[in-house]
Symmetry: C2
Subunit: 377 residues, 2 copies
Amino acid sequence: MAEYVYLPIPLLDDFCMTAFKKLGFKKNECRIITDVLLMSDKFGIESHGMQRLVRYHKGIEKGLIDVKAKPEVVHDCKTSAVIDAHDSMGQLVGHKAMELAIKKAKRYGVGIVSVKNSNHFGIAGYYAKMASDAGLLGMAFTNSEAIMVPTFGKLAMLGSNPIAIAMPAEPYDFFFDASTTVVTRGKLEMYNKAEKPLPEGWALNKDGNASTDAPDVLSNIVAKNGGGIMPLGGNTEQLGSHKGYGYGMICEIFCSILSMGTTSNYTMQNGKSGICHGFIAIDPKNFGNAGAIKEHLSSYLRDLRNSPKADGQPRIYTHGEKEVENTARIMKEGAPVNINTLREMVEFANFVGINPKKYFGEHADAVKTDKMFAGNY
Amino acid sequence: MAEYVYLPIPLLDDFCMTAFKKLGFKKNECRIITDVLLMSDKFGIESHGMQRLVRYHKGIEKGLIDVKAKPEVVHDCKTSAVIDAHDSMGQLVGHKAMELAIKKAKRYGVGIVSVKNSNHFGIAGYYAKMASDAGLLGMAFTNSEAIMVPTFGKLAMLGSNPIAIAMPAEPYDFFFDASTTVVTRGKLEMYNKAEKPLPEGWALNKDGNASTDAPDVLSNIVAKNGGGIMPLGGNTEQLGSHKGYGYGMICEIFCSILSMGTTSNYTMQNGKSGICHGFIAIDPKNFGNAGAIKEHLSSYLRDLRNSPKADGQPRIYTHGEKEVENTARIMKEGAPVNINTLREMVEFANFVGINPKKYFGEHADAVKTDKMFAGNY
């Protein structure tokens, strides 16, 4: 069984800032990339923080990510824009695109920006939160390497295609960020690293039948043999598979369709990622009194938390609550890092030319084994 | 077991036009109401067409719906507006609100309109399709009487909260319209009328435990005893219950939060429905060449339909395909109307003062029994 080490957030911050600087990113760019990654670890979303460093490492190594790329606004109207990322780090173009959407929203009420030719941008929620931190309603979308098998299919044709939304509320903002698949690929990778079978109802084998075999599913995905993850709602219409597939399509429309970019089924071809993103910012003050709207949402969220619990359930959560509580805990206890993820971080340190022992001490030696895990690259 | 009769669409059209005129609606208003209802029956969405007439009948009888209401724009900015429906038929304010969103989108690229103090507006997809028929990307949302139980709860706190989206494509538009619950209340009512147990994974009893007992679930909902329908993703986080609950929240934000209207948990109180809607229109030409974007979407939809099928599955659908095929079939064969729904239609005819025999002939007599079904009012 895989083990965990707990690493302090400031240490991980320093590690990321130093590593991305070594790769050639400017200081302000390192700040954005590091903030996006660590938000995931602080929120307790293990799948999208340090666990994903290996993808950036391999992406830069293979040339999918261009460290020197300058994202370019290729279409610009009052309320909308399209940005060609020119293969930049997703975090950098994502940050720029949401800043533009926010600017448009402050001037015209709404801003919608679609991005093409990008790379994995971390958690979608980071960008939605940029808008809510500015007092706006924010949404963010991204497609990804194909991983979702459409209802009745056996080949992955859509990405995990998350939809994130954030909106100001008290005592904490509404914050919802979730893939339109039952689970993300990152969750499959975590089960793979932990050497545990997948829960029922998550994944399909290469023939389109349900499977709990994580290494088999992941290696079939990498080899494009077929199979993948089910849409939210599983693989039957009775439980709403077509709905998860539909939400995945909404994501695809705001990312790859409006930008004329690469749909998930054609990403990762010809040495390009081709990932696309979408960003929406809406200024509530264009609907009335922004303070009253914020209080109206806060009151509804309180009603939800205070509503009667199911037999045996101590608590009803509203979206964003767990993230706030996890951040408080993880800032104190450190972020849980799977020993296999740590191995990837040690390799990343070696790749960029920094001494892993400086950051991870004895752990840097402990992870020196030959055992690697299939399907994570 | 319940039986079905097949009634021609032109007959149902004539019936609705005549009945709503008798209720005091103007001719153009009858046209909109009838079009919304019959689109549902033509699309094969039995739960939201003739099956729902009884709700309008009872809504008008009880005074929830004001036949003479004049919806009023109470807040108006470049890209957004809020409309107070003043208890109008949902279809009428819905049509007006999407027309306004389309007008804003044509001028500024995007239009977002939220509506408060309305009533049930039929299928959300009707309004999204208004935008796609105008060459735009359209979205529509509505809250409803509370029916969705939040994850780990036992009391319904959100509506069925559908999200609909439509966008121009060839050979038919992309059209996705689905509740964020596993199924709609209308589906439960259909099982109830058909006297069949509910499938597993749909509903919760008054203690928050899974239930397949349709009359019990429906009567608990009506009496507000607890229980209701699960979010898409069921009632466990492992299968993504929090995601369906999150999509329900997105719907609620565009409907009741931005409009400062009534959240689902407070609808149907003090002799008011208080239902809220949301409408978004986006002009693709503000992102580039609208024709090229349409072809890009069409090409992706073709890829999805042509992708490899799971073992034993003959076909992969894209959203909107079934609706087009159902319309062709139902225009020829007539709409299937459950005998219990027909009974409600006969009562509706008697209520408005038209002779049911004129429309339903021998069927009008055949449905004269005392047996009524709980939970549909």
